[in-house]
């Protein structure tokens, strides 16, 4: 059902990673991403693998969940893999048939690419698995706050994101309900030609839009009733607090990154 698609896919648990400061988690994830794509050497992949493994164990997220996060991009993986495999040429030719050539470099690049993408998804998924979307936007706002000096409406953007995220589950639930209600009246959404199926969406989309507008209006009114006026001088219910574990985690990640850089320069 639609309910199973949870954007942000937060997986509530009690672990060190869940309790970490979200700002640090974002910075660490960014360091991890740069590290993953640093140089052409195996070390960056191994380091990435190590990072994901340690982060997974610390966050108590079951490995099954990480595999599930990779599943939707399998088609992308297959296409990239195949393209890299056959289009890149260089090094020894391993296998040849008519105009199709399989070269050493092609194989190497394609394997690298696949592992990289998998680690990329797994690593970033760990961030969203361990951080609720609302906290995540808070952290993004906090990280972007220097831009306020440049007159960027950081708080407003973050607020919009928070509201959007907050309402995704609500709207999904609503879609589910409306779909069920129309199905109960015999709406047929699974068969028929493409045009018929598009037409079958009308009884779902119209009530959904109407309710989204209604909700937006109600929310705006409720916010105004509480004298909401934007970011200036506003305090927060959930303060982001950093502590020893955040420094240690960032330190270790940077150390790992430094090791990757060194090994890359030494080995080349």
């Amino acid at each position: 059902m639609l309910k199973d698609i949870t954007l942000g896919q937060y997986f509530p648990m009690d672990s060190v990673v869940h309790r970490m400061d979200a700002r640090y988690k974002i910075i660490i994830t960014m360091v991890f991403l740069v590290m993953l794509f640093w140089g052409q050497h195996l070390t960056s992949l191994l380091a990435g693998l190590l990072f994901v493994a340690v982060a997974m164990i610390c966050s108590k997220i079951p490995p099954k969940m990480l595999l599930k996060s990779i599943k939707p991009i399998v088609p992308v993986l297959v296409i990239t893999g195949v393209l890299n495999l056959f289009l890149l040429s260089g090094g020894k030719v391993l296998w040849e048939w008519k105009f199709i050539k399989l070269t050493e470099q092609g194989v190497q690049t394609s394997v690298f690419m696949l592992v990289r993408i998998c680690l990329l998804i797994a690593g970033t998924s760990l961030l969203t698995y361990t951080t609720s979307p609302i906290v995540l936007t808070d952290a993004i706002e906090s990280l972007l706050s220097p831009l306020k000096k440049l007159k960027m409406p950081v708080h407003e953007l973050a607020m919009m994101m928070t509201i959007a995220l907050r309402f995704i589950p609500t709207l999904i639930e609503e879609t589910d309900k409306i779909m069920a209600a129309q199905k109960a009246r015999g709406a047929d959404m699974e068969s028929g030609s493409l045009i018929q199926r598009a037409q079958a969406l009308v009884p779902i989309l119209i009530p959904l839009f109407v309710s989204a507008f209604r909700r937006a209006e109600e929310l705006a009114l409720a916010m105004e009733c509480r004298c909401y006026h934007g970011g200036e001088g506003r305090t927060r219910l959930r303060q982001l607090k950093s502590g020893l574990r955040d420094y240690v985690a960032l330190g270790l990640t940077l150390l790992l990154f430094a090791a990757v850089i060194t090994l890359n320069t030494v080995l080349h």
Binding site: K3, A184, R185, G186, P203, I206, V210, S211
Partner: protein
């Protein structure tokens, strides 16, 4: 043979995630043809989930739903046809209205059934009348109506399919007392006139007590009892322990009994209670 039957019915939401929850837990139930069944239970007791399984919108995690003795999830069974026979009116059904006019919206269900224009027209007009919508409202846009009117349009939309079993999930939620009695008495009329089976979900004893012939009490995903209102209310203490308030009139008579004034039967409608009292005062036998 019961028209609708649940056998060992179970439904679990989000299996395998931390949000896993069993909403319906091994429920067995038989609904006879022509019955007016009230279903009560707390929020989260599994009422809505159970109702959605009854017309094949939700696939049971385990167990079966039988319509006329046939499993609706059997291979090759036509679930769409099941939904035309077991009509379900959702909670706050006015949010599903989408057509330009009230007429077209009520006609949506019958049209999906593939009926011809004339039959559709007859059904739209009949059901609109049954729920008390005036003729001139039919050509109006649904969004221009009041909340109570929209609700009645939505109910008419399901009634127009002329289902053999009509299930209504809290049809009076959020309406004022007047709108509430209006819809409920229209429902009773409809039940009397068509003789179809009606299932009315509610969390208010007050609402259902007056109208139903059988009461199904759900608590924590299980059936507590399924019996006539009199027999159900006889177990009043049990119900109150579950946090389900008895109808006010029943509570009054229980308090009278505690003070030593006894009556032969459990009372759950005001007219009946009034007659009992009057008879007692006049020292005669109650006439009903």
């Amino acid at each position: 043979m019961p028209i609708l039957e649940a056998k060992d019915l179970t439904y679990t939401y989000s299996i395998g995630s931390p949000f896993e929850k069993t909403a319906v837990d091994h429920i067995n139930l038989q609904i006879e043809q022509g019955e007016f069944v009230g279903i009560i239970g707390h929020t989260g007791s599994g009422k809505s989930t159970l109702m959605q399984m009854m017309n094949g919108l939700l696939k049971p995690t385990s167990g079966t739903v039988l319509l006329d003795g046939k499993d609706i999830w059997e291979k090759g069974a036509d679930r769409r046809a099941v939904r035309f026979q077991v009509g379900l009116v959702f909670q706050y059904p006015e949010y599903q209205l989408f057509e330009e006019t009230v007429y077209k919206d009520i006609a949506f269900g019958p049209k999906n059934m593939g009926l011809d224009e004339k039959e559709i027209d007859r059904r739209v007009r009949e059901t609109a009348e049954a729920v008390g919508l005036r003729e001139e409202l039919l050509e109006k846009a649904p969004y221009a109506l009041s909340g109570g009117q929209k609700r009645r349009v939505a109910i008419a939309g399901v009634m127009a399919m002329e289902p053999r079993v009509l299930i209504l999930d809290e049809p009076t939620a959020g309406l004022d007392p007047k709108g509430r009695t209006k819809i409920l008495s229209q429902l009773r009329e409809y039940h009397k006139r068509t003789g179809c089976t009606v299932m009315l979900v509610s969390h208010s004893m007050e609402d259902v007590a007056k109208y139903v012939s059988k009461l199904l009490v759900l608590s924590h995903a299980k059936v507590v009892c399924y019996d006539t209102p009199a027999n159900v209310f006889a177990r009043g203490d049990e119900l109150e322990q579950m946090g389900l308030a008895l109808p006010q009139i029943t509570r009054v008579f229980r308090l009278l009994r505690e003070r030593g004034i006894t009556f032969p039967e459990e009372v759950y409608t005001v007219p009946f209670g009034a007659e009992l009292l009057r008879a007692k005062l006049e020292g005669r036998a109650p006439q009903c």
